[in-house]
Subunit: 213 residues, 2 copies
């Protein structure tokens, strides 16, 4: 029974298994740490550094896994407003499937160049629809701002309807809270309403733009 040391004959680690283990860890524990990840992989912490650029690299792998199911290709085959809707819903679903991962990714998800393919697809779709070139990026990022906020909202704590002793709770707020859906429906309603309003507003913007010409 000699201690295993030195390079193994067959590699024990690769980026795919590190990413998968990290996502499982985040889903299960709600947090990511290198020691916990190494434990789950049956390996020393320092081994991970041979395959990935530290914790940030691991988070990158998690991001790729979580965002893999986002459908932006729809912009090539659907009219822009329907494409925006399916893009948005797959975006939300992707993050809603991994609520804890959202917090890990939120602060570095938007605007990174990792989603170039997504931006490219959306850009093409909106340009073809007739939106002005100088506004297309703004529209895409503006919508994504909403999507990221909605993704964070999925795992937000529910506001209790009973706000008995709180001064700030007006009757109007109490009524609105009582009438609002609860559970998973709460964040879904906010998402649906916001998305519908955004698309409707963009439709109006497009009409106004086309009449100017």
């Amino acid at each position: 029974m000699s201690r295993r040391v030195g390079r193994p004959s067959t590699p024990q680690l690769d980026r795919a298994s590190i990413g998968a283990a990290a996502l499982e860890l985040v889903d299960r524990e709600g947090a990511l740490s290198m020691p916990a990840l190494a434990r789950r992989l049956g390996v020393q912490v320092s081994s991970i550094y041979h395959h990935v650029d530290g914790r940030a690299g691991v988070i990158g792998l998690v991001r790729d896994l979580v965002t893999a199911d986002i459908d932006a290709a729809c912009f090539a085959v659907e009219p822009w407003d329907r494409a925006l809707d399916t893009w948005a819903r797959t975006y939300r679903n992707a993050f809603a499937a991994h609520p804890a991962a959202v917090r890990l990714l939120a602060t570095e998800t938007i605007g990174g160049r990792q989603n170039l393919a997504m931006y490219a697809a959306a850009t093409t779709g909106l340009l073809r629809a007739g939106f002005p070139v100088e506004q297309v990026m703004g529209i895409v990022v503006g919508v994504e701002n909403f999507l990221l906020g909605a993704a964070l909202d999925v795992s937000a704590p529910e506001v209790p309807i009973a706000l008995d002793d709180d001064e700030a709770a007006t009757d109007d707020l109490r009524r609105a809270l009582a009438a609002a859906p609860s559970g998973p429906e709460r964040s879904l309603q906010a998402f649906d309403l916001g998305l519908a309003a955004l698309i409707e507003g963009l439709r109006a913007l497009l009409v106004a733009e086309q009449q100017r010409q």
Copy 2:
């Protein structure tokens, strides 16, 4: 020169100075740690725990400071769409003034009961405008989702226009990036476009609702 130990005759710390020092620290260093905060306050780390419930408590103080300038009272004096606009802009400005703090607060800002007064004001305004009770909370949260995403976007890295060697960068994307504003204007454009679309979409929703009656 005896070592200062034991309770001081006059307290050296209070919640207000802790919060102010924490926000300064975040603004200057981009991160918050208890040791750095203690150093800045000229005090031992453990002293902070006598006034605040740990790191989470410090973050709460930072949140209160950052969000203090958000104007939700406008809902009481302006028509709903103008109120939504000023609420949104003061919201964005509040976070834009402390870009690093956004990352610290993003994962626990929305839906918390700390902003009850804000929710109350918005709720009253939207109810009076004629939005249906069961949708008012959803609308407020939906808009706030966008606002938080936009706040995160303020400090997002700029996508470089030069994407020479990248396969995913289509010509359409290159054109859109080249035509889009850069610098601080980039995130502001995304905010303006998204907010205008949201408000316009909600206007349409309200009209449809009023015609149903």
